[in-house]
């Protein structure tokens, strides 16, 4: 609910002594720019400090706007209310008959209520963005932001649910208890490796799709970009040698998806802080206990018996998929020079890639991708999750198996190709939004083909539905703004000036 005091747009910030004190102590500088959200030119490495200042400015502005809007989403009725008499239909006594129908046929909950389009965004706050374990309360603004993305990009009603739990089992039990209200579960910002067990456990127990963006979304976007990069450099996934730097949520799933696509496990090498992951490494027994997902890859991959550090692993490799730590010196130009001809370099750490794109290209990289929107080829979860959820929700799917994730990745790649594949256009930009309903429809088709769809629509029906629902939210947001039901964004405070 918007604070009525703000509807006029005149009050910039809701005064709070606690917030004022936080802002005064905070190291971030006051906002000095009104360029939020605009596309910026590509910065050189030397501008890293400027970028940090800009990030600070975003932070300051976000706090001010959060205090103004007091939340990013709200529930809105989707039925007419002509008079109070209508509540006899929407509520008691009429609604009892709807409940009886669902009691008799539980799957009717997907068609007689909003369940089909409602997703829970669940987190324990154990790994929020780059902030680490900040707990469920502090995770809420991020979950609200994700809910906004779900609605705006995917037309999905998403409810932020940060939960206070003390173990993965309790997490699973809690979400299982919530599931009757939802058509899908989106896990968010959960530390690795416990996120793997939670996703696996919930996928097994629930008959609705369960997704963890840090695993599946990032991996699907990475694979999509890689498929196009391979196409551009005339190679196939079966023949390349690939190094994955970083063995966290994203890369462990990327590795699994690559293997599912036919990548030779012997030609796949994972590298983490301890160097090349291989079966005889000292910590492999520990991994068996602590991180069986990584352990299994340690046993299957790195057929050449390589050991040592990233430099050893990259020698002669075709592809580097880095999802590690934000440090531009992680991947040195010499490593790129040692790779096979026309190397493909994905440096996906945020906010700073493992190697700056221009540095990678100077060292011979044929194709470079990052996680950032201000460079070409942004590998971005938001390319994937709205479309995947649109597809599985429209199919009332029971799960999201890897086959579906791969269909989404392939379609994302194919959609980009249809619009012109170049080394600077491996993936659609967020503006090329016509691709996303196509991905959603492909996902819906896959759910039907795999026998996990409760609703079997044709491709055209899925596509039509996705276009309508994914386009609707932008209209909704515009209409609310036009009607002044969403107050306009308040003016920017002057540097060091009064906030009024």
């Amino acid at each position: 609910m918007t604070n009525p005091a703000n509807v006029s747009g005149k009050v910039l910030i809701n005064r709070s002594p606690v917030l004022d004190a936080f802002m005064a102590e905070s190291s971030v500088a006051p906002v000095a720019t009104g360029r939020m959200g605009r596309r910026r030119s590509r910065p050189a490495p030397g501008t890293a400090q400027k970028r940090e200042e800009e990030t600070d400015a975003y932070g300051r502005r976000a706090v001010e706007l959060s205090a103004f809007y007091q939340g990013k989403i709200e529930t809105v009725p989707k039925v007419p209310v002509r008079s109070l008499d209508d509540f006899a239909l929407w509520y008691t006594p009429g609604v009892a008959e709807v409940s009886r129908a669902i009691h008799a046929h539980p799957d009717l909950s997907f068609s007689l209520t909003g369940r089909w389009n409602t997703v829970a965004i669940v987190t324990d706050g154990s790994r929020v963005l780059g902030l680490g374990d900040i707990g469920p309360r502090a995770a809420l603004p991020v979950m609200e932001g994700k809910a906004l993305l779900f609605k705006f990009l995917g037309g999905v009603d998403a409810i932020p649910i940060p939960i206070q739990v003390s173990s993965p089992d309790q997490f699973i039990a809690t979400v299982e208890a919530l599931a009757p209200a939802f058509g899908g579960i989106n896990l968010e910002d959960i530390a690795s490796p416990k996120c793997f067990g939670i996703l696996e456990g919930l996928s097994k127990r629930l008959s609705i799709p369960v997704w963890h963006d840090d695993q599946l979304g990032t991996a699907a976007a990475t694979v999509a970009g890689l498929l196009n990069a391979l196409e551009l450099t005339h190679r196939s996934v079966e023949e390349v040698r690939t190094v994955l730097l970083g063995a966290g949520a994203a890369n462990l799933v990327t590795a699994r998806l690559l293997l599912a696509l036919g990548h030779d496990p012997h030609r796949l090498t994972l590298v983490d802080q301890r160097g090349v992951l291989h079966a005889e490494r000292d910590d492999v027994d520990e991994l068996m206990v602590r991180n069986p997902w990584k352990y299994r890859l340690a046993l299957r991959t790195n057929g050449g018996g390589r050991s040592g550090d990233l430099a050893h692993a990259l020698d002669g490799a075709d592809v580097l998929l880095a999802a590690s730590t934000p440090d531009p010196d992680t991947v040195k130009p010499a490593y790129v020079r040692s790779m096979a001809p026309d190397p493909i370099v994905f440096a996906l750490a945020n906010p700073v890639p493992e190697i700056w794109p221009d540095v990678a290209r100077s060292a011979g990289a044929a194709i470079v991708a990052t996680g950032r929107s201000d460079f070409p080829n942004q590998v971005n979860n938001s390319l994937v999750f709205p479309a995947v959820f649109r597809g599985v929700l429209d199919a009332r799917a029971r799960a999201i198996p890897d086959e579906v994730v791969l269909v989404a990745a392939r379609e994302l790649a194919a959609g980009t190709k249809r619009r012109g594949l170049t080394p600077h256009h491996l993936l659609p930009t967020m503006e090329e939004s016509e691709v996303f309903p196509e991905v959603a429809a492909a996902v819906g088709d896959a759910a039907v083909r795999l026998g996990i769809a409760r609703t079997k629509l044709s491709h055209e029906e899925f596509l039509d539905r996705a276009r309508t629902l994914m386009g609707r939210s932008a209209k909704l947001v515009r209409a609310l703004a036009r009607a002044r039901l969403t107050p306009p964004m308040p003016r920017v405070a002057r540097r060091g000036g009064r906030r009024r």
Binding site: E280, D285, E286, M288, V289, Y295, L299
Partner: protein, 180 residues
């Protein structure tokens, strides 16, 4: 205390380690094997550290392991089997199993074969080799008069629990500990 390797043999597959691409050769260990058995034994004990602070490995565990293994090899009540690779790993010891026969003064059967350690290098796991080792050591313990076979491993080692449970083992005694 001991643990097994990752015992999650694929369901429905036979336990035979002699399948294509995979086989090992099992034989009684000799004194000459001790230098290669020590690091394997220590890997296992270090794995046990993961499960409980009271299973912290001693600084001199290396020397202890050497002495214990030599003593076992000289002890008619102890069995140490060495698993050798074949092909490229021929003659390389890739795992071992160690067990002793203990008397049970109050119970029948009167002798129990206690599996103290089973360890396989990671690349040899998940292929039924662990099950093969278990079968062979059980037979050897039976031949030494054991009427029951038991296995010792950290209580928190669920992988070992599952490995043995799948093969008909159940908990019969429990050891609970607290520091003094």
């Amino acid at each position: 205390m001991s643990a097994t390797g990752d015992g999650s043999a694929r369901p429905g597959t036979s336990a035979s380690p002699e399948g294509p691409g995979m086989s090992i050769h099992l034989r009684p260990a000799r004194d000459a094997d001790v230098p290669v058995l020590v690091p394997l034994l220590l890997r296992l004990k270090r794995l046990n550290e993961e499960f409980d602070p009271l299973l912290k490995v001693r600084d001199d565990a290396d020397e202890q392991a050497r002495q214990v293994l030599h003593a076992n090899l000289a002890d008619p009540k102890a069995i140490v089997l060495a698993a050798e690779g074949v092909g490229a790993d021929k003659d390389r010891v890739v795992g071992f199993v160690r067990a002793v026969v203990r008397e049970r003064p109050f119970y029948v059967p009167e002798h129990e074969g206690v599996i103290l350690d089973i360890y396989l290098l990671p690349l040899y796991r998940r292929r039924g080799v662990g099950e093969y080792l278990l079968r062979e050591i059980s037979a050897a313990l039976k031949a030494k008069g054991a009427g029951v076979v038991t296995a010792e491993f950290p209580a928190q080692n669920e992988i070992a629990s599952r490995f043995y449970a799948k093969r008909g083992f159940r908990p019969i005694t429990a050891i609970h500990a607290r520091s003094l």
